[in-house]
Structures are given as C-alpha cells and as structure tokens.
Symmetry: C5
Subunit: 304 residues, 5 copies
Amino acid sequence: MIVRPLQHWLRMLFVWRGSVLGRILPQLAVVILWSIAVALAQGTVLGFKIDLTIAPFTLLGIALAIFLGFSNSVSYDRYWEARKLWGALLNDSRSLTRQIMSLADVDATVQRRFAYGAIAFVHALKHQLRNTSAEADLARCLPPEWQARVQSAQFKPAVILVLLADVVRELRQNGQLSPMLVPAIDRHLSQLNEALGGCERIAGTPIPFAYSVILHRTAYLYSFLLPFGLVHSIGLLTPLIVAFISYTFFALEALAEEIQEPFGTEPNDLALKAMSVMIESTVREMLGETDLPEAVAAKNYILS
Amino acid sequence: MIVRPLQHWLRMLFVWRGSVLGRILPQLAVVILWSIAVALAQGTVLGFKIDLTIAPFTLLGIALAIFLGFSNSVSYDRYWEARKLWGALLNDSRSLTRQIMSLADVDATVQRRFAYGAIAFVHALKHQLRNTSAEADLARCLPPEWQARVQSAQFKPAVILVLLADVVRELRQNGQLSPMLVPAIDRHLSQLNEALGGCERIAGTPIPFAYSVILHRTAYLYSFLLPFGLVHSIGLLTPLIVAFISYTFFALEALAEEIQEPFGTEPNDLALKAMSVMIESTVREMLGETDLPEAVAAKNYILS
Amino acid sequence: MIVRPLQHWLRMLFVWRGSVLGRILPQLAVVILWSIAVALAQGTVLGFKIDLTIAPFTLLGIALAIFLGFSNSVSYDRYWEARKLWGALLNDSRSLTRQIMSLADVDATVQRRFAYGAIAFVHALKHQLRNTSAEADLARCLPPEWQARVQSAQFKPAVILVLLADVVRELRQNGQLSPMLVPAIDRHLSQLNEALGGCERIAGTPIPFAYSVILHRTAYLYSFLLPFGLVHSIGLLTPLIVAFISYTFFALEALAEEIQEPFGTEPNDLALKAMSVMIESTVREMLGETDLPEAVAAKNYILS
Amino acid sequence: MIVRPLQHWLRMLFVWRGSVLGRILPQLAVVILWSIAVALAQGTVLGFKIDLTIAPFTLLGIALAIFLGFSNSVSYDRYWEARKLWGALLNDSRSLTRQIMSLADVDATVQRRFAYGAIAFVHALKHQLRNTSAEADLARCLPPEWQARVQSAQFKPAVILVLLADVVRELRQNGQLSPMLVPAIDRHLSQLNEALGGCERIAGTPIPFAYSVILHRTAYLYSFLLPFGLVHSIGLLTPLIVAFISYTFFALEALAEEIQEPFGTEPNDLALKAMSVMIESTVREMLGETDLPEAVAAKNYILS
Amino acid sequence: MIVRPLQHWLRMLFVWRGSVLGRILPQLAVVILWSIAVALAQGTVLGFKIDLTIAPFTLLGIALAIFLGFSNSVSYDRYWEARKLWGALLNDSRSLTRQIMSLADVDATVQRRFAYGAIAFVHALKHQLRNTSAEADLARCLPPEWQARVQSAQFKPAVILVLLADVVRELRQNGQLSPMLVPAIDRHLSQLNEALGGCERIAGTPIPFAYSVILHRTAYLYSFLLPFGLVHSIGLLTPLIVAFISYTFFALEALAEEIQEPFGTEPNDLALKAMSVMIESTVREMLGETDLPEAVAAKNYILS
C-alpha cells in the first residue's frame, strides 16, 4: 500500500513512485513510436492511404471508458472487500481477547495462550495468502505441542481454529467457562473462520479471464488504430494525443489488474505485513503487555 | 473457471483459450462478410444508395455500451453472489466440524459421521445444480441407513440437513450436547440452508428474459446497419472497424450470458467440482485425517 | 417469469413471446408513422422547414441512456430484492421445519401442524401480494380452529405468525421445548416476519412517481423530435433509424416499469405461484411425506 | 408519497400532479425567455457575435448527465434506505408484539402496555423527524406514569426504549419472563434502536453541500450558455431544444434534492403518517383488537 | 459538515462558503490565464500553429467524466460508510446503556460508570481519528483508577472496551448479572469494537494512490491542452469554455479528495465533535440526567 500524502497539485503531475507508469512504459513507448511512424507517413501504409476518421473512435473510446469504469469498479470492490476481511481479523482478534479475559475464569497464562493463538491465525493467513513460510511466526506465537500439527497442515489457519476451539472445550469441561457463555466465543471463532474463507475466495477466484482478454484487446487495438483516425486532421500532433489517450487507458487497465489481486506484494496491494503486526500490537496491549512490536515503517512510501 | 496467469501484454492479444471468441465466431463472420459486401457495393442496395451517416451510430453505440455495462454488472453480481454462497458452504462446513469437535462430548465416530454429512451436503448441492448423479458421492460420505432416504428425495441437500439436525437432537437427548450449545450448531445448519436456498434462487431465476432479447436485438441490428453508416466516409476500411466494434459488443454480450448462469460447465463458470473437493479436504484435515483427496487440476487452464 | 432457454443468436432476433414488444407496439407505430410523415414532408411543417441537426440529439440521447440505465438498475434491484425475500421464505420455512423436528420433543402431528402453518404463511402472503382469495389454501393448510381468525384478519400472514408463536409458547409451557431452544425458533419467526415486511415495502412503495414522469416525457418527446434531426441528412431512411432508437428506449422503459412491481402477473414478474408450490413440496418432503404436489409448469414459456 | 397508477403512455406526457414541474417553472421560464432573446438577436450581444458551437456542449452535457446520474443514485439510495428503516420499524414492532405474547407469561394488560409502547415509539419518531408535536399520540398510547418523562425528553424515542426495557426487567424479576428468553426480546429492542439511529443519521447528515453547489452551478451555467451553442445552426428553433434539455436537467436536479431528505412533507417524500397508522393497525390486530384505525387515504394522489 | 439549507436557485449560483472554490482557485487561475494566452496567440506556439480539433477532447472529456464519476462514487461510499460507523457508535452506546439498566441488577452508580465508559469510548475514538489529546475528555468520563491505563495506551478505545468487559465480568461473578444475559451485552461490546475497527480501516487505508495520480494527471493535462482544441473554432471565447469545463472537473476532483478522508476537519468532513456531544447527551438523558451538554453549534455554517 502506498502511503503518501496528497501533494501540491503541481508536484502531483510529476510523481513517479506510486504511479503505475513504470508498468506500462514499454507498451506506451511502442504505441508512441508507432504513432510517430504513422504521422510521418501521413497515414499511408504500403502506398494505401488509410483514413479512419475520428468518429468511430469517439464511439469506441467512450464504450471502452464505460467498460474500463465497470472493470475498475469490480477490481476496487475486490480490493475493498479484502480490506474489510482484514478489518474483520482485527475486530475478531480483539473481541476474542476481550472475551477470554471477561467471560472465562482463567489466569493470565490461558488468556495469553488463547490470544496468541488468534495472533498466530492472522500471521498464518498472511503467509498462506503470500505463499511464504509461516514457520518463524508460528514458533513465536504457538505453544510447542500445537506447532507440529499446524506446521504439517495444508490449511494452517483452519487447524489453528480447531485448536482454539479445543481450548474452549477444555475450559467448559473444567468449569472455567459457563456453557451459557460458550456460544458468544464460538460466534467470533466462526467469524474468524468466515474472514479466512473470504480471503481464500478472493485469492482463488480471479475476475473471469475473458473480461481481462476482451478489455485488453479492445484497449490495445484501439490505441494502434487511433493514429489513422487522427493523422488526417491533426497531422504531426497525432503522437501527442495518442500518448495522452493511451496513457489513460493503459494505466487504468494496469491498475485494475494490480488491485484485483489485493494480497500480492505490488505497490498498490494491501499491507498485510503492517496490518498483522498492528493486530499483534493491539492484542498484546489488551493483555497488558508493554513491549509491543514496532509498527512496520513504509519504505519509499510503500507499506508491505 | 479459467486459471491462467495474466500474461505479457503482447501475448494477451492473441490468447485463444479462455476468450469467448470461439462462441461468437459464426455471427462475427456473418457480420464481417456482410460489411465486406456493403463496402464493395459502396453502400448501394438494389440500386438505392443508403447513407445513414455515422452520427446516429455514435449515439446508439454509446447507449448500447451503457446498457451492456448494466447487463455485465448484473451478470457479474450473480456470478460473484454465487461464489460467495459457495464460500459460505466452505465456512459453514468448517464451522460445523469445529463445533461438533468442541461443543459436543462425543467420540471420533460421531464427529466423523457429522462432518461427512456436511461434505455430502456440498456434493449433493453440486450435483443438484449441475443435474448429475449424486449417487457415488453420497454412497461414499453417508452412512448406509441415510442413503435410501436421501437418494429418493427430490431436494437432496434439504433432506441431508434434516438428518444432520437429527444427530443434534439425539446428542441433546443423550446428554452429550448441552441444550445451551444447540443453538450455536443450529445457526450454522440454518446458514448452510441459506446457502442452499441462495444457489437454488440463482439457478432458478434468470435475468428477465426481455433484457436478453432487447440487448441482443439492439447489438445485432446495430452491427448489421453499421456498414451503411461508415461506408461513405471510410470506404473499403469499413469491415475493419465493423469487425472491431462487433467483436467488442458480441463478446461482452456472450460473456454476460455465460457468467449469469454461473453453475454450468462453460469455461468461465464456477469450478464447483474443485471447490467441493477442497471443502472435503479441509474438513477431513480438521478431523485429523491425512489421506486427503488430491486437489482437482486444471485441464487446458480450465478448472471444472 | 419467463423460462426460456437462450436460443440461437439468429432466432433470438425474432422472438415474440417474452419480449415487451407487445406492450409498446401502439406507441412505436405512432412514432414510426409520424417519422414517415416527416420524412415525406422533408421536415417541413406548415411551410416552415425545421432542421434541428443531429448534434443536440446525440447529447440528449446519451443523457437519456444514462438515466434509463439508472432507472433499469433501480427496477432490477427491486426485482432482485423481491426474489431474495421469497428466497428467505423458502429458507425460513425449511429451517422452522427442521427446528420443530430437531429441537422440540413432539410427535408428528405437532410437527405437521407447525410446518403446515409455515406453508400457509407463504400462500397467504402470495394472495395478499396479488389481491387474490387465500381461502382455499388456508382451509387446506390450517387447523379449523385457526381459520376463522386468519380469514377475518386484514394482515393475514402477520396473524399466522402469532398463531405459530402460540404453538411455541404451548410447547415451552408443556415442557416439550426447552426455553434455551426457544430463541432459535423465535429467530426464524422474526425472519419470516422480516420477509413479510420486505414484500409489503416493495409492494407499497413505488419508485418516486416523478422519476417515471420525467423519463417518460424525455423518451417520448425525444422520439417525436428526432425525425427533424435526421431528415435533412438521411432523408427517407429517417423512419428506419427512428424506429430502431425508439424501440430501444421504449422497450427499456416498459421493461423497467414491468419489473419494478415484481409481484404482479405480467410475463416478466416473479413466479409467486410456482415458488409457493415448491416451498410446500420441500417442506412436506422434509416431514417425510411422499405425495408431494406437482411443480407448476410453464404455459407458453411463462411461469406464474 | 405519490400513489398514482402508471397511466396510458399518452396521458402520462401531460401529468401535472406528482411531477416536479411546479418547482422548476420559474427558472425554466427564465431560461426559455433568455434563449428566445438570444435567438432573436441571432447570438449577438452588444454587437459581438458569440458562437460557441455545439461541440463543447455535447461534451459537457454528457458529463453533466453522468454527474446527475451519480447524484440521483445517491439520493435514491438515501430514500430507499429511509424506507427500509421504516420497514424495520414495522418488522420489529410486530416481532416485539409476537414475543410479549409468546415468550412472557403475562395477561393482556401487560401485552397491551408493551405493544402500545412500540406504537408510541413509532409515532414519536415520526414527530421527531417532522418536527411536530408528539403530545396527542403519546397521550393516546402511553400509560400516564410514563408520559411526563417522555414528554420532557429531548430524544423521546430513545427514552421510550428505556421504559420498554424497564418492563422487560420487571417481568424478569417477577419470574414472568425466563432470563433465557430476555435476549430474544432485547435483540428487537436493539433493532428498534438501530432504526431510530438510522433515521437520525439520514435526517442529520445531508449530501455534502459542495456537491449540490457544483451540480447546481454546472446545470444552470450550461443552460444559460447553451443558446449560444445552438443559435447559429438551428436559429429560431433554439428555445425549443433549450427548453427540452433544461427541463430534463432541472427536473432531475430538483427531484434529487426532494428525495434526498425523505422525511419531509413534499409530494415525493415518504408517507410517514400512513406508515405509522398501518403499524398501529397491524400491531393492534395481532393483539386481537378489531376496532382498528382507518388507513390514511391519499389526497390528490398524495399520501402524507 | 456544512449545514446550510438549500437556497433559492439564483443565490445558490453565487455561494462561496461550503463550495470548494477556495481550494481550486490557484490552479483554475493558471488554466484561465494560460487559455487567454493561447487565445490571444491564436493557438500559435513558437511559430507553429497547433490545432488539435475538438473531437479528441469530446472523447477524452467523456472518459474523464466517467472516471470522475467512479472516483466520486468511491469517495462518497467511504464518507457514508464512515457516517454509518458513527451511527453505530450512537446505537451501541444507547443499547449498552439500556442493557446495563435493564439486564443487570445494579444501582445508579454502576449504571453511570458503565454508560460513561461508553461515552469515553466515543470521545477517545474521535481524538484518535483527529490526532488530538483525549486527556480532558477521559478525565471527565472515566473513574480515576482507569485513567492511567487508558492514557498510556496506544489504542485507547480498545483498552476502554477491555475495562467495560471487566465490569461485566465483575457483575457476573457477583451475581448481579445472570450469565444468560451476558452474551447480549457482550454482543454490543463486539459491535462497538467493529465500529472502532471500521473507523481505523477507513482512516488507515486511502484509495489506491495510483488512482489519484491518474485522475489528477488526466484532468490537468486535459485542461491545459483544451485551449488548442477550441481556439480555432471559437477564438476569443476559448477562456470562457475552458474555465467552465476546468471548474467542473477540478471541483469534482477536489471534493472527491476532501470527502474520501471523512474524519478530518475540512468543511465537508464529518462533524465528529457534534456527534460525540450528541451521543453524550442522549446517553445521559437515558440515565435520567437533566443537565445535558449543549449541542455544538455551527460556525459559518460549518459543524466540526
């Protein structure tokens, strides 16, 4: 995630970091060179003069803008839903911590064990979504007797929930937690479980591939034909307008693709690492700890 | 569902598998041939020169794009809601498994029986939505005494829920499950039931038929009249632009139709089979099993 | 509801049943005749030549398309919300049936009485929404001692819920239903109640009347002025384009009006009758009955 | 709320009541007179010929239509959310009535007292939203010992909820209501409370003022400049097109403003009075009363 | 938040306070001066005549309007979700107050302590979101023994929830609150917690930075090139149209940026201070207090 204050309107025009310009530079260069060639040849290819006039491009350009608008709206919804799911992780970790402290009649050891289990859940999910190794974080947060089972599991966070529920069962059987209060805790375990399933859903189900193909083709074909629509009315200024229009369309398409998979590590993706450290901090603060982990800092304005 | 990493921008232009090009090729060919004929005849039909000018087509094309945008937005919402309902199946199967292990005081046999009942529910729903035979999956997952009743039922998943609720009743009456904890389990049975009803709703209620008719007619009529709007300004280049515009409109219409019934077996539909195997895996892993079924692999990038 | 498989793209162009063409034919005919008259008179009215040029119509046509898109989106949301509410009726009837069988310790007579009460609720709501007589269905589903009170009531489904809650009270007072389990059943009674209120809301609150007026006026005025914008550039072809554009706008406006009141009996409205029979079937199958009512069949592709 | 059946397409064009024409007539008249003046002067002001050409107006008109579409969509969402909140009032009043009859072991007096408390809540909210005196309705529905406290309160409905909760506390302490059933009733009190808060939110938070200003300015400036864009191509017909376009934009802006504050008493606002009488009717019918209040009738098609 | 009644349509055109004109005046001035220069030079730069024609600007202007529409829609959704979260704070504070009075068997001192804890939560969240010191408000609302722990915490509102849950635990252990009723209160603590997490989410996750960059660049580049598209057809009137179009685009962009961070102190942001005082008032009125704090008054139409 890019954390950069909005700047003076003038400087904003020349921002490099945080824009997607880097990603689309090659294809933008190709299109511009192509339009320069068309402009120099005055729209003539192999001796044939090709004049497409601007009218069909107005129509198609607006249609393309409408579809790009739809596509960005879908991508942003995925991004924002993913952010909400991580918000739910925060909320439910806090609620479970509050509940183990308030509803059960247990000492700080059990409270800590349970709350750190929730922290381990969050870290495990982060590693599952980013395909990184959860080993270090699990070793830090889970009691030794749980680690083997979780480490060997395919769906680690789901197994952690089984173990947390096991704690609840023991407390209930020991009489340290009234059966009347169990459903309240169980409800938040179910909600953690829903946040897990929701993240798996977004990570595992891309926007239908055919949408990407159709939009991509239309945007690129459009940009390559556009010079023939402009060259006969604006001549050598063609590359300027083609560059402007292509930039807008390519950039919006690239951004839509970047944020539709919000769990990755591209600049505009969600800061899973920073969020999981923040969850760890607040949960541990609720337990009364004071040596909280330091918040993740942004590097070059990018929070990972 | 098509699982294909987004590719280099250049290769993306020539992707065949996963695009809907195959579905719209016949009508696209007809439109292109028609526009070639119009171009060669210079817009003259039976001696009458037909010049519609481009202006009405700009207006209508943009209107059409707006309606296609609306239609795609509705179709995608159905697709995504269907995906969420299958996400709920995953979440509730996991939660019920966690609950039978944590809330009830039962041995592994009963846990297994209950959790496999949830797995059977998921498979039965998949078969109901795709009109395939649930027999093999039910025989694998359900105890023999349940099979006859479920097999003969018209609404199989609904009957499985009755049988799962029967287990809950027995446990309560045996004293193995406190009545204070029953509502927590019952809530997830209701949620499975809601996911079932939601899938039946999407499968049984298409987008109002008249929408499909109006959009279809407008898109095709538009494409057939378009050559007469272009031929007098761009002459022999008419088929190029007609092909481009028709491709965009036909492809978006075809895709909207494909994903609005997301439970089918077309390439862009949901991967019900892969998802139900995944649910089976994670539930069985939670039970402590280790011989999990293998994940369904994509064939030609398509996950069924 | 029209249940008609999507057809070959060519046949789809000439579908009559299920399109809204029938509804808009008179006004479409008037507009076409008018545009023929204008075309023959070459845009001259009472000796004055009226040339509006196409430009303002492009602008207004696109604006109109945007507002029609908004209007259709609102109408479709009402339609889909109504469908979801009927989905909730299915879900909650099933859940209540499951609960009376699983949570209460009662014999089949009480189970049947309660579950049939839920069925009666659904039929009563259908009759309330369509202004038809609920007498036959109520006589079939309710015990005689309830019928008088329900029949004489102004809000029949609301009174049925009172009677169902009365059964719950009796079971609780008899000790056949633990008070710990009552809230679970009560929750589904509340949800049936919400579905009832939701249907009453949609049925009783139309889209603000002024929207219909503004859109209607703009669409018709547009169609009547359009010939003067086209006749000087495309002459005798004017009626063709006017017919095409008017068809699209009138059809979308008519459809938006049809589905915004989704409980009626027009072709694109919801199939309340088929759905209530389906709910009756599945509930009775859950009770173990085998002589289920036959599913309602479509007549001329229309399911009522 | 305007309750008027949709009429014959021809009559619909000349409807006066229920349209917003009355509200925008003055400014529409000014714009039309201005455009007549411009047309007569052939676009010349103080000797300078002002020709803006139609092109910038096409662009700006479409942009304006997009923003008006956004604005109407936001306003309608507020309107519909407000309607849903009043639907929740109906649902929760009915549910609370059902619960006091089914969950508590009390006689009709207490039932009546509690249910009438819910009715009083609804009336009090209506009066709060419309700034009218709740005195008569409260005197009719509340027991004398509650009236003083409610009347003197700043947030009357919130205080009524405290009093209803007080009844629940007494019943629990008397043993007439099992503590296991209290949460079910308490949940609906919380939901009434949420409906209250939701209405206060909509009533107290307008759409950001700057939106209204930007849209208003753009729409009016556009209409005043438009004649200079049209007069050189369509001459004396300018006022006709200006009137048409201005009517559409002004009317949509006026309607968006009218329904964004849906609790007022303008024609297209919600019929709070009719709804609160309906809630009173159905609740009293559930209690077994038969002398129900008469439904509010529409005056000149307007339901207040 | 700007609280200003909508005014006469004529005066509305000249409103200064509450519009965003102040924010965009510098850049608007630059664009207007630039377009005057271009108009005076008749589109000639360094001897080269630059004529871009209006056509590409129509296309790009509409595309820009579509993206601005998307951007405003996203910003407004953030604004409205933030408002809803603050509505949840109101609802849950009221519900917790009602519950401590109705569900627990405690005297006014405990009621007051608990309800004031909820008030402190709201104030603490306001200060966290606006980066101001919570000290005075906390000292006013919290008992001395809680203040040290809350003051030293990094996430103050989360710690207040732990302390409120502690009260619930004590009451349960003392027998002043039945364990059957604890979950009802705990649920509202969880909801307060969700409102907290939701506000942190909106405050901590801006709209992807690249969107702001793309829109900003497109809007400004557009405005600077526009004079070259207009000057050859409307000459000296160019600055007028450029000013009009730039105003619309700049103003909508500026407003979208202002309300996307709704917790700030800019004129169109949410009135956190007024809302937290209102919550304090109603909660204290529910407790029976009469010396309620005065409502925050608007200064120059602005409510902070």
